[in-house]
């Protein structure tokens, strides 16, 4: 279990119970420095509890947790300056302050904060810089949360369902922002309900179900997606044919031999991330990690 690369987050045997019910049940997790890691899972799977424990916002009942070389249960000041947090529940506070005022103020908390105006521009709120928070739309307020999360130049950024309530254009802009932050070396831990978001952003995804990590890997490989049976479909005269096979290449070669030139209507598909995800979270509890 020794991580082969430099890890930002190492979790072993993490447990958290709420009134007897295990929300997180012996969870093991490694997140490497510089990667974007997406935690997926249905509601109640333990995503937010796990992230809150990593952020130092919640106590754990058991297991060991290491975040940037520190136990998040201790959360010393210097460590807090190195992480950025965007909580799942949007903060409605400070409604009478303007975007510029709240960012200018929070920048004072950090030893090496980014320039507030630059951050405002980064999240696309330059036009609203002098607007009071309570006058912003839901999506704009969420961008203030994100701005506050990246203001302190964090090495590790937690984003708990950051794009809930975003329209498609805002989501796309947000993806670009995350890609740029990741490109600059920020480690990013993301929870999301949007599988296309995980697929677009994450270097690796982990699927949580019933408080355990049931799979972890790149979006293309998770759950054996890349080696799973492929479905080969084509048109056999007027009839649509569809065959599931372990050896799609051989089938396509045979079809090619039977046809003169192009095979009509040919597609080769593997399970989508969504198919794989749904299979994983429905899997029996002893499906085993990884």
């Amino acid at each position: 279990m020794t991580p082969s690369r430099d890890t930002a987050v190492t979790v072993r045997g993490l447990r958290k119970t709420y009134s007897g019910r295990a929300a997180v049940d012996h969870l093991d997790l490694d997140i490497y420095r510089g990667e974007v890691y997406a935690l997926l899972g249905p509601n109640g799977a333990g995503k937010t509890t796990t992230v809150e424990i990593l952020e130092g916002h919640r106590h754990r009942d058991g297991g060991t947790v290491d975040v940037l070389g520190e136990d998040p249960g201790r959360r010393p000041r210097g460590w807090r300056a190195r992480i950025g947090i965007v909580l799942q529940s949007q903060a409605d506070g400070g409604g009478e302050l303007t975007v510029r005022e709240i960012l200018g103020h929070f920048a004072r908390y950090y030893p090496q904060a980014r320039d507030p105006d630059e951050v405002i521009e980064t999240v696309g709120l330059t036009e609203q810089a002098r607007t009071r928070l309570r006058q912003l739309s839901g999506g704009q307020r969420r961008r203030v949360d994100v701005a506050l999360g990246i203001l302190g130049r964090p090495e590790l950024l937690f984003l708990d369902e950051p794009t809930t309530g975003f329209d498609p254009a805002a989501r796309r802009a947000f993806w670009e922002l995350i890609t740029r932050l990741a490109g600059a070396g920020t480690t990013i831990v993301l929870t999301t309900h949007y599988l296309e978001e995980a697929e677009a952003l994450a270097d690796r995804v982990g699927v949580l179900a019933r408080g355990r990590l049931v799979a972890s890997g790149t979006p293309a490989e998770i759950g054996g997606r890349n080696t799973a049976e492929a479905t080969v479909s084509w048109l056999d005269g007027p009839r649509a044919r569809s065959v599931r096979t372990d050896t799609p290449t051989r089938l396509v070669a045979e079809l090619a031999a039977r046809h003169d030139g192009e095979i009509p209507g040919l597609t080769v598909t593997r399970p989508s991330l969504e198919d794989t995800y749904l299979a994983l979270i429905g899997a029996p509890e002893n499906g085993g990690p990884r």
């Binding site: 807090r80 300056a81 506070g93 400070g94 409604g95 005022e101 908390y109 630059e118 980064t122 009071r132």
Partner: protein, 285 residues
């Protein structure tokens, strides 16, 4: 649309010693927060109006309703009540405002947002204390001006009286502010906060010599009131605004300034302890 510079290289520890001298002090951040709190408060116009209006209206009503004198002391009822209403006004701008304000901060995520930053917790409390002091001072100035112009409240000229006023004000505001923070932990949501805070505020106002002459209250209620700070704040302010001869009618036949200081200081220490022990960053589940 640029993201500046890469994150700092990984360091082994997470301790503050890593960046010597780079941390702003809790006091400095607290002052900044205080400025922010005050700005926010004065931008909420309806809240400002009603915070200041209640004691002002009470002051005006009492001035209209009561015209007699307290016993044969020559002190008019409205002078007597003016001192009490100023004390209760201080409690309202500190205890009530913070009791509700901190619950709101807890409920709307302000506290949790702060908790995740490197800002020390003390900065939050210092900011709240500063805003309570400034708002209370504004309230007291308004009440003093109205009291003096409309109700015949005698503003003292002897500096000693203003010294008394200053320490009663400072001890009163700090104690009530801390008690407000402490009671905020009792309220589950901001919707219940005003009910939770109003009960002790109203009951204490009734039994502490704000709406009634204290010495005319039943002895049992006087004893209960004497356990809490408001009674002593009222008494301290009466010593400032009423003639010295009135002291004889007080419960202890004197102003008991030393006892006022002692009780308020004890409450200050107790409420600080209470705050530290009960403070919660997150909503109760």
């Amino acid at each position: 649309m640029t993201v500046s510079a890469s994150p700092r290289p990984a360091a082994s520890g997470g301790d503050a010693a890593r960046l010597p001298g780079a941390w702003p002090s809790a006091v400095r951040l607290g002052l900044l927060r205080g400025g922010l709190e005050i700005r926010s408060f004065f931008r909420q116009r309806e809240s400002v109006v009603f915070t200041f209006a209640l004691p002002v209206i009470l002051l005006a009503l009492f001035g209209e309703i009561f015209h007699g004198t307290v016993g044969h002391t020559g002190v008019q009822f409205r002078q007597y009540f003016a001192a009490g209403i100023i004390a209760s006004g201080i409690m309202s701008t500190s205890f009530v405002n913070l009791g509700i304000g901190v619950t709101v901060d807890r409920d709307d995520g302000t506290l949790l947002r702060l908790y995740g930053t490197p800002a020390p917790a003390a900065a939050y409390f210092i900011g709240k204390a500063i805003s309570a002091l400034v708002v209370s001072l504004a309230e007291v100035i308004i009440l003093l001006i109205l009291g003096a112009t409309l109700l015949g409240l005698h503003l003292p000229t002897a500096p000693g009286h203003w010294v008394t006023f200053a320490w009663v004000f400072l001890l009163g505001v700090s104690t009530c502010a801390l008690l407000g923070v402490a009671i905020s932990s009792l309220a589950r949501t901001q919707r219940s906060a005003s009910a939770v805070v109003t009960l002790p505020y109203l009951v204490l106002s009734f039994i502490s010599g704000v709406y009634f002459v204290f010495s005319s209250l039943p002895a049992g209620l006087q004893h209960i009131a004497a356990l809490f700070p408001l009674k002593w704040m009222c008494q301290g302010l009466r010593s400032v605004f009423l003639p010295g001869s009135f002291a004889y009618t007080e419960a202890g036949h004197s102003w008991q300034l030393d006892r006022i200081a002692l009780v308020l200081a004890a409450w200050l220490a107790a409420s600080l302890l209470l705050c530290v022990r009960t403070f919660r960053w997150q909503r109760r589940a």
